[in-house]
């Protein structure tokens, strides 16, 4: 009976087992191998080299890395700033309202982020809705020409990534036992102290998930920069795409990918580690 069970179980696991070994482990191992190969015209040879990794520290490429990190950092910080109070605030509302706001953030999660960005183009473009509104209110005299600027890219990043933060925080905050906060207040903690000592620590797991879900994609979301930044902002994502699709330099693209994974891995690792300590 038990042996039969075990055979069925093994058969059930097998498809994912094989699929993951071939199509997840395979490509990743291949990427690692590829990153040590030598470029040769449009192809590459098997000769081992560290040149690809050395190239990353080349001024231009390294600057791109820093630029990506900066944008991801700024975006993640902004998403925390806007998303955490949003998720927490919505979760603490009476159920009817809380569910409304949750659904309202689920929809963008499901809608293609590209499509959602189109609206910002209409709003941000020169003489677009933003300019018209600002001029009508007398705040500015001339069109701001906000589109294709760095802040426009940041707004786009926040906009696309906010639902991830909202939902992560909301999920944890929803289960928050409010009597704990009341207990803290009762025991003499002020509002801010009660937040810092009870609410924040208890919702921290949600915040951390949110950061991971925001930071990882923000390193790779090159299309936001290209749509709202007009290719002025070159990110690591665009660099990988360029090396792969136009320069046909697979080994270098692989090395860049390995570096990017290490970077995001380190950031996530740090967050997870703190989580365990908490």
């Amino acid at each position: 009976m038990t042996r039969k069970n075990q055979r069925t179980a093994t058969l059930a696991v097998l498809p994912m087992y094989l699929f993951s070994l071939v199509f997840v482990a395979g490509p990743l191992v291949y990427m690692l191998v590829l990153s040590f190969m030598t470029r040769d015209g449009f192809g590459f040879t098997n000769a081992f080299t560290l040149e690809n990794y050395r190239s990353i520290f080349n001024e231009v490429y390294f600057a791109t890395f820093l630029e990506s990190l900066k944008l991801a950092g700024i975006s993640t910080a902004a998403v925390i700033l806007f998303g955490y109070p949003f998720g927490l605030g919505a979760a603490l509302l009476p159920d009817r309202y809380a569910h409304f706001f949750r659904t309202a953030q689920m929809i963008p999660y499901f809608v293609n982020s590209l499509l959602r960005l189109c609206g910002w183009i209409i709003i941000f473009r020169a003489n677009g809705l933003l300019d018209k509104a600002l001029m009508a209110l007398g705040i500015t005299e001339e069109p701001l020409k906000f589109l294709y600027t760095y802040p426009a890219v940041v707004v786009g990043m926040i906009y696309v990534l906010l639902p991830f933060m909202f939902l992560s925080v909301y999920q944890v905050a929803e289960k928050l036992d409010l009597t704990l906060v009341e207990a803290a207040r009762d025991l003499g903690a002020g509002k801010i102290r009660a937040f810092l000592t009870v609410t924040l620590p208890l919702t921290l797991p949600g915040l951390k998930t949110g950061i991971i879900l925001t930071f990882i994609p923000s390193m790779g979301l090159f299309f936001i920069a290209s749509i709202l930044g007009g290719n002025k902002v070159v990110l690591i994502g665009s660099l990988i795409e360029e090396q792969l699709m136009r320069a046909h330099n697979q080994p270098f693209a692989a090395a860049l990918s390995v570096a990017l994974m290490l970077l995001t891995g380190v950031v996530c690792g740090l967050l997870m580690k703190k989580k365990r300590g908490a």
Binding site: F19, V24, F110, L114, T179, G220
Partner: protein
């Protein structure tokens, strides 16, 4: 316990308005007679008409739907059966493979796209629908697996035992009790992965061939060259479809919550 203070509503409302503002703008402008988005020339449905005359967009839509459905169904079958068997199987390294399967969840999309491109060209696979399906299935599996594994953990095993005790064979118990009890998780996982597949630009750009376009790829290439009211119309339709999907999923969940 949770009391409503009016002031607490302000911030969530502002954020929600900002969330929907661009979507609303797109929807409004999709009905604009004028080709220029800087002025309003009156209500018109002509961009929608034009959209449905554009074969390349219809084809891209078809591809996207086919891709989304195929990869989420494939992922659902693979991930659900694996989640069910994981506890009892004795395959070597199975817990490592479990982590491996979840890896696409935390790898930047750009890296996934890159490694798939390189790996598929190594294998000599023809770029197109096949490679798209493999790549999308790979990143859909984690969504369904995590949902189903979590549901399995909360599953009341005594209900399955009760079924066996009341005369159900292994298969009968599985199909009449285990699977129906897991189905909300499987379905919501499938919806999530369909949305992810339908949304994906980055990975798709790398693994698609010259002949197969998905809707996001089409939109991306068009936006890069400039926005057209046609794209606005397309966005509006896709938004409507997404809201509809979510509404259906919501109804399914509500019905399930009623008896769980």
């Amino acid at each position: 316990m949770k009391k409503l203070r009016k002031r607490a509503l302000i911030y969530p409302i502002v954020m929600t308005v900002l969330t929907y503002l661009p979507i609303l703008v797109v929807a409004v402008y999709s009905f604009n007679e004028s080709k220029l988005s800087s002025k309003w020339d009156g209500f018109s449905l002509k961009w929608y008409a034009e959209l449905f005359r554009d074969d390349s967009i219809l084809e891209a839509l078809g591809n996207s739907v086919f891709l989304g459905v195929t990869s989420s169904v494939l992922a659902a079958v693979i991930a659900t059966s694996a989640a069910l068997g994981m506890a009892k199987s004795k395959l070597p390294l199975r817990h490592w493979v479990e982590k491996l399967a979840l890896l696409p969840l935390i790898i930047p999309e750009i890296v996934l796209g890159m490694v798939f491109l390189a790996f598929f060209s190594l294998l000599g696979l023809p770029f197109g629908m096949l490679t798209l399906i493999i790549a999308h299935t790979a990143f859909c599996i984690p969504y369904i697996y995590t949902e189903v594994a979590a549901a399995l953990e909360n599953l009341d095993l005594s209900a399955v035992e009760a079924a066996r005790d009341l005369g159900a064979g292994r298969l009968t118990a599985f199909f009449t009790v285990t699977l129906p009890m897991l189905s909300p998780a499987v379905i919501s996982g499938m919806f999530l992965s369909f949305a992810m597949s339908f949304d994906d630009v980055i990975i798709s750009i790398f693994v698609t061939g010259v002949s197969v376009n998905t809707l996001p790829i089409k939109v991306y290439t068009q936006i890069k060259t400039g926005l057209s009211p046609k794209i606005n119309a397309l966005c509006t339709i896709m938004l409507a479809v997404s809201v509809l999907c979510l509404a259906i999923a919501g109804i399914i969940k509500k019905i399930h919550r009623k008896y769980s």
